[in-house]
């Protein structure tokens, strides 16, 4: 979780793909920044988003464990949320949730 947070901070000075011109590449399209995939906001693939009903959440962390993109994070109050920059809306968290407290809502 900590790693994901630090990646998010690095996003700010980074140019998104649509801002890059043909002269901006390193030869061979080499990326010199380590772990730069964090800049790629895969969350915009999402058609449905997970939403937590905290009244039924037991803070077990199964959603956090199962998320294949490490896009679920724990809030200071102990409950969980998705980082929508990276959550692709696959629904695995909702499927695995012990108390069925995660609902997949259509993106609009």
């Amino acid at each position: 979780m900590k790693k994901l947070e630090s990646l998010k901070e690095a996003v700010t000075p980074f140019r998104q793909a649509h801002e890059i011109g043909w002269r901006d590449f390193e030869p061979g399209f080499v990326l010199t920044e380590v772990a730069s995939s964090g800049h790629y906001h895969t969350g915009d693939w999402r058609s449905r988003r997970p939403v937590w009903d905290e009244s039924r959440c037991i803070q077990c962390g199964v959603c956090w464990i199962y998320c294949p993109d490490m896009a679920v994070r724990r809030k200071p109050d102990g409950y969980f949320e998705a980082n929508y920059d990276y959550c692709k809306g696959c629904g695995i968290c909702a499927r695995e949730c012990v108390t069925q407290c995660i609902r997949m809502e259509d993106e609009r």
């Binding site: 890059i20 043909w22 590449f25 390193e26 030869p27 061979g28 399209f29 990326l31």
Partner: protein, 395 residues
């Protein structure tokens, strides 16, 4: 050149290639044997086994793996060599395109051979034309001396910091690979003066992490391809410079487009590869009979030397382009197609006549050149752009 710095030897061209590769002190050789490239890779394996070449010889199980090994080794900063032919090339082609996009300065000798089917092992240019657009620098050799010299040029130019682009050296299968020729072999001192150690811009190393071969999202793929195209076009002056440097050292000069007896020629033959040698004999014979015929030879196929070509053919009435491959259902042979493009709309440009010849090693002899010139001069009207003749095909 100082005569003590070179010696004349009789050598099979394949062995001359292996010798040149050894003199370039490559780090990794990865190749799979295929006719007619076999003698090159056999000789290199022998050199490594005998301790004459301190390189890793990777006995891969396919050409796809050969190219993959070269890409991986180049990514660590190694100097690599591979060679193949025909079916081997099309098996490795998936990775060939990746090497150029990643700007890895691999060097490949392609012993040109026809693509199946029908199955054939003999020479034509259908193999290289199948990867025409792969983004590598592509040169052609005519004889053993050129084959030997151009190996050094390939490494020199590929690894220039402003180039970093892989090079394919095309060598006609059998006509060159299996012929023993007299050639001048350079002293190692000359090679070392010409070819500096390779200093990669980026190399995979745990202490200096970089990402190579990353995914290119649609939002920047177009820009990436534009960058690749611009980079290949920009290699042209470096290619010429590297030939100039070799010429300064050895007295043997090479150019993107070369001419032979073109002064006052009404008809120009246009060749690529070893048939240029026969064409010179044919030109001599025709000149002796008073025919105003000359020869233009294309040495650099990519990046395509448009300006040199226009200069070389200026003043001629007819340009007889000899293609060694068929673009099925297209506008004729690939070379003629590009020559027409280069000349399109140019005032006073010669009429282009496309003859597809020499498929799968069919001989193109002096009388054939004469017959083609005679046919061109007898034509009542200029051919349409899409017209071509598959020369000598029996009814």
């Amino acid at each position: 050149m100082n005569p003590t710095l070179e010696r004349r030897v009789g050598m099979e061209d394949s062995h001359a290639i292996a010798l040149a590769v050894r003199q370039c002190n490559v780090d990794v050789v990865a190749a799979y044997p295929i006719t007619p490239q076999t003698h090159i890779v056999e000789k290199l394996a022998e050199m490594v086994a005998n301790g004459e070449l301190d390189a890793e010889f990777v006995p891969v199980e396919s050409e796809h793996s050969a190219m993959t090994v070269c890409v991986g080794a180049e990514a660590t900063g190694a100097r690599t060599f591979t060679c193949t032919s025909s079916q081997g090339l099309i098996l490795m082609s998936e990775i060939v395109y990746i090497a150029s996009a990643m700007r890895l300065p691999c060097v490949m000798v392609l012993a040109n051979r026809s693509l199946s089917g029908p199955l054939s092992i003999w020479c034509d240019h259908s193999d290289v034309m199948s990867i025409r657009d792969c983004g590598w620098i592509q040169t052609f050799a005519e004889n053993g001396q050129e084959v030997y010299d151009l190996v050094f040029h390939a490494y020199r130019v590929a690894e220039m910091p402003e180039v970093l682009t892989p090079v394919i050296l095309n060598v006609d299968g059998f006509y060159l690979t299996h012929v023993v020729e007299s050639l001048l072999v350079a002293d190692q001192e000359v090679v070392d003066r010409y070819l500096p150690p390779y200093r990669p811009r980026y190399a995979l190393h745990p202490d200096r992490a970089v990402t190579m071969g990353a995914y290119g999202v649609p939002e920047l793929f177009t820009e990436a391809k534009k960058a690749q195209d611009e980079a290949l076009r920009a290699t042209y002056p470096s290619i010429v410079k590297a030939w100039q440097e070799w010429g300064d050292l050895t007295g043997r000069h090479y150019h993107p487009v070369e001419t032979y007896r073109t002064e006052g020629a009404r008809v120009l033959l246009f060749t690529m590869g070893s048939i240029g040698q026969t064409a010179m004999v044919a030109v001599d014979a025709m000149r002796e009979q008073g025919w105003p015929v000359g020869l233009v030879k294309l040495r650099l196929w990519r990046p395509f030397p448009h300006e040199d070509l226009r200069r070389a053919v200026a003043g001629a009435e007819h340009l007889v382009v000899l293609d060694r491959a068929v673009s099925f259902g297209g506008p004729g042979g690939p070379v003629a197609s590009e020559v027409r493009s280069a000349l399109y709309g140019q005032a006073g440009a010669p009429v282009v006549h496309d003859f597809i010849v020499g498929l799968a090693g069919r001989d193109v002899a002096v009388p054939d050149f004469e017959a083609m010139v005679r046919e061109v001069l007898a034509r009542k009207s200029a051919p349409r752009h899409e017209d071509y003749v598959i020369y000598g095909a029996r009814e």
